[in-house]
Amino acid sequence: MADSKADSGEIEPQIGSETRFPAGPKPGERDTAFFKDPMTDHLLRAVVTLAMETSVTRERLRTLEALLEKAGSLEAGNADNYQPDAAEAAYRAGQRSKLIDDILGPIVSRLARED
């Protein structure tokens, strides 16, 4: 039996001069468009990504409510009247900005490359 640790240990410089690790194949296109107007593709994808995040959020809320209900710590109206403190409010603002950037950023950067 081979010495696993020794065999798996050091990686020598190989492929790609700027890295000491194997570089992998050349990256392919990630935003190929198929409609006549590429904007249709980009908007379609933005909507799908948005739907995904909505789906994740819904699942998260259901999980939290189920856990809170199980623990007996959620009363009707608690969430409706909740006021975030300054740190929580700032966190939420950051998350909102990220979500918007996630949805619109790919379109903006794609169109920015147009002549």
């Binding site: 798996s8 990686i11 190989q14 194949p25 190929t32 468009a33 379609l44 799908v48 995904m52 789906s55």
Partner: protein, 374 residues
């Protein structure tokens, strides 16, 4: 501390991956069915009326569909769902990769380890794997970004779970994760009921999940998995050690291994051939013949996309996957007569086969052969 090698999403990651799985299900079944209906009921009859003859070739079918917005929608959603899939698994991998590498290093160095892993000084990977992002996986199968990297394999493993969960198989766990390996083991027993393999070779073992299935199906056999992508070989070794199973893994080119002649009683692979070039098919099958012991069985599983089995509309969609979605070799593989390839590699014509077997609703292409007792 992480105790096992494997893909382990937390709540929101799992929800995101589940959405991608559902989206892919919708596109692959719902939208594809709509597209097939459109083709059969409107586009094909329209062509017949206009041209005075039926659509007969892939080229004609593609031309007839080109520009139709439903075809564009299917293409755009298929393309985007693939992007989302890799993005969604990357999130889990980024969060867990350091702990996974630590765990791999601990398992590979453990004095009580069950099997071994053997890696080369330099990667053996060559084109097309070396030059193509198969499945459009960022970095392909073999990019490494850190010592003892597992990233490519973790991501790949995450997508397998994603598909599995989308189909309602093994949700939230690893139940049935070696089911294809178990299926191949069952076909091996059916095709060679007299064979009690003492040594088994799994070519293109990938993450090793199915390789473990062979060890479970034939506990007395020495099982070896080989792959040309190093992150996968490490992952497979770590997975086997996590499961306490004794298997060996090595970084090797299936067309040119280091094993002596007649080393294995059973040689298998799962969806490896459609990710090789036509030229490598001959090399790999010749190597199988060299490595097989008298009385042994070679049994390869791959996609059942041979053109004579598929309606034109499905051929159009597959050809699109070849051009746009990281499946560059489906078409080349599907055009080969694998029984003839097996015979050309040295197998006796009456002991070679190319067949189809069903596993539930799925059908797979099997090919290989036996070697007569000496």
């Amino acid at each position: 501390m992480t105790t096992r090698i494997g893909f382990s999403p937390i709540h929101d990651e799992a929800a995101r991956q589940a959405f991608v799985g559902s989206l892919k299900g919708y596109v692959n079944f719902g939208v594809e069915t709509e597209l097939a209906t459109l083709f059969d009921q409107k586009i094909a009859p329209g062509h017949r009326q206009q041209a005075g003859k039926d659509i007969a070739t892939l080229d004609e079918a593609e031309s007839a569909l080109a520009g139709h917005p439903l075809y564009a929608l299917w293409a755009s959603l298929t393309f985007h769902s693939q992007n989302l899939m890799w993005q969604s698994v990357q999130e889990t991998t980024d969060r867990t990769i350091d702990a996974q590498v630590d765990r791999f290093e601990a398992l590979a160095a453990a004095p009580d380890r069950q099997g071994c892993v053997s890696l080369r000084d330099k990667p053996v990977v060559k084109a097309p794997i070396a030059t193509t992002e198969i499945h459009r996986q960022p970095g392909g199968y073999w990019r490494e970004q850190r010592p003892n990297d597992l990233e490519a394999a973790l991501n790949y493993s995450g997508t397998v779970d994603l598909y599995r969960n989308a189909k309602g198989m093994g949700v939230g766990g690893k139940i049935g994760s070696d089911s294809i390996g178990q299926f191949v083991a069952g076909v091996a027993r059916k095709y060679a009921p007299d064979l009690d393999p003492k040594t088994i070779l799994d070519m293109g073992c990938g993450t090793g999940e199915q390789t473990l299935g062979y060890k479970r199906a034939f506990p007395g056999a020495a099982v070896t998995g080989i792959d040309c992508a190093r992150p996968f070989v490490r992952f497979a070794h770590g997975l086997a050690e996590s499961e306490g199973l004794a298997l060996d893994f090595a970084e090797m080119d299936a067309g040119k291994t280091d094993f002596p002649d007649e080393s294995f009683d059973l040689i298998v692979s799962i969806i490896m051939f459609h990710e090789t070039t036509k030229a490598q098919v001959g090399d790999i099958l010749s190597e199988c013949w060299r490595l097989l012991r008298p009385g042994g069985l070679v049994l390869h599983l791959d996609v059942p996309y041979q053109p004579d089995r598929m309606p034109l509309i499905k051929q159009v969609m597959n050809h699109w996957q070849v051009r746009h979605n990281g499946e560059p070799f489906w078409t080349g593989f599907a055009d080969l007569d694998m029984k003839q390839e097996v015979i050309a590699a040295g197998f006796d014509a009456d002991l070679a086969f190319a067949t189809y077997e069903a596993a539930g609703p799925a059908v797979y292409h099997f090919f290989g052969g036996r070697k007569a007792h000496g």
